[in-house]
Symmetry: D2
Subunit: 164 residues, 4 copies
């Protein structure tokens, strides 16, 4: 199953990106087909017709499984990630199965992927059958909670039927 | 597909129940197999070992597709519905595909099923691939938004793989 | 300042109640004037005209400062607490300053008081100027986070102007 | 009372800005002292040390009353607004009283200011004693709900005590 990773961390090649790639690799039995590090798109994110942004949006919309990852800023996802999501047209993630992933410095914001990030993806039309996942940025690489999450939710992440 | 309807309205045989049965009928090409009107369970809901409550919990957990419906009180689901959901053991809805449905007097609380009711069902282990649905209690029977919702989300509500 | 404590834990005299009384005592420089343990109201909570429930609602509405406390069930407040809040008329907490407090077994649900409980109180008309507070049920009595919270938010909890 | 308006609409001089200025004017018995239209800050928002952004952050932090306004994109506030809020240091709005305001094309997202925008401001340390306000972008100028909102919440928006 082709998997795309979308990361909204202002720091390039962040731990957020690494954690998202690890999750995608576990879900797909191999590395993700494509990784989009939003910060690399630069100021074109602030406008409406940037070709690189349009290309990235098109790639995201083609994904079968999309891991959407953000660090936790102010107890929720980053403005950088939302800036990219705002470029996706209404309903533009129909047919995409998406997984919200957030990393944070401590455990207090663990509800944010489910309560805050997932509804944005659903509003865009994505199917989000798994609970949002939260990992500590200091411990994601050996996170025992990841195994539990995969056991519980992994089977739900098979490809969605595409709308006719 | 056997569908169960769970309704948390303090008024028996409410419009909430009627709307939930209509939704279930559309999703299942026939009337739901079972309808649980929580208010009928009475004071046993306040304790821990009531046989009728335990029986209702068992029925809900057997559902393949579960429509969970509430009127909107104080901009969210009712205490009555949550009282019942609190009786379900941790992870007790694993293997159930659930649809959050809320009815309200006006349109202002339309985000409540997605932002507030769905996360409770997901926390219980349910798979909720469709956006939460909100309908006006004065207009649900001829609600044009229902057709749109069914087109968009209906295909996602096929039965989930049961955990091994 | 007269403070009222409202507790929605199915277990009477719970740690939730103890934590709420401690918080109220810190906020008011003395024990709270009144403590309402919702579970004691019994099956009258399920109807509409119970005199003891009506009396408790009236007491809550008279509070200047109201600590509203719940354990965390299914990642949010209890159905028992919401059952009581559903008995308060629309706008019925106007003029009340309220503090949402939740206790949980682990840190993962720390956003619940702010994201889930506070909006119910605000919808009822309460003024909630402080961030919702979350404490571990195993450690609330010596919680260092409480001191920080009091320093940051305590000054905001002076009585609200009553509506004319 | 000096009031600042902060607007996160990708279109300069938007209806969002106009609605926020109108609200500020009603709250302050005169036009706001300062209006910050985030879009004007440009690509500096994507970095960490832009002088114009730093200056705008400083101005926001000096406000006694801050109206924070956004259009509704994907059922929540814009990435542009969050990009600016992410530049504010942790706890940086302590001592500021803030009002979340969102505009939308229809009524369905009316819970977003209270459930989604307000918690970001509170996490930054702002005091948000009023319910988040939502207005239709087609009708905000003659919105009867504004008068009701002002009657109910206006008295709560007196200046907060500054932390010592």
């Amino acid at each position: 199953m082709p998997i795309t990773v979308l990361v909204g961390n202002p720091k390039p090649k962040s731990r957020t990106l690494d954690a998202a790639v690890r999750l995608a690799t576990r879900l797909g039995d191999g590395p993700p087909e494509r990784v989009i590090d939003v910060v690399g798109l630069g100021p074109g994110l602030l406008g409406r017709d940037d070709p690189a942004v349009a290309e990235a949006v098109a790639r995201v919309r083609e994904a079968e499984l999309l891991v959407v990852a953000s660090p936790t800023f102010k107890a929720t996802y980053t403005g950088l990630l939302k800036l990219f999501l705002d470029q996706i047209p209404s309903g533009g993630l129909a047919g995409v199965t998406a997984v919200p992933l957030m990393l944070g410095a401590g455990p207090a914001h663990a509800l944010a992927p489910e309560l805050l990030l997932k509804p944005v993806l659903v509003e865009l039309g994505a199917r989000c059958p798994a609970q949002g996942l939260y990992q500590l940025d200091s411990a994601y690489a050996e996170d025992p909670a990841l195994g539990e999450w995969l056991t519980r939710w992994g089977p739900q992440l098979a490809p969605a039927p595409r709308p006719a």
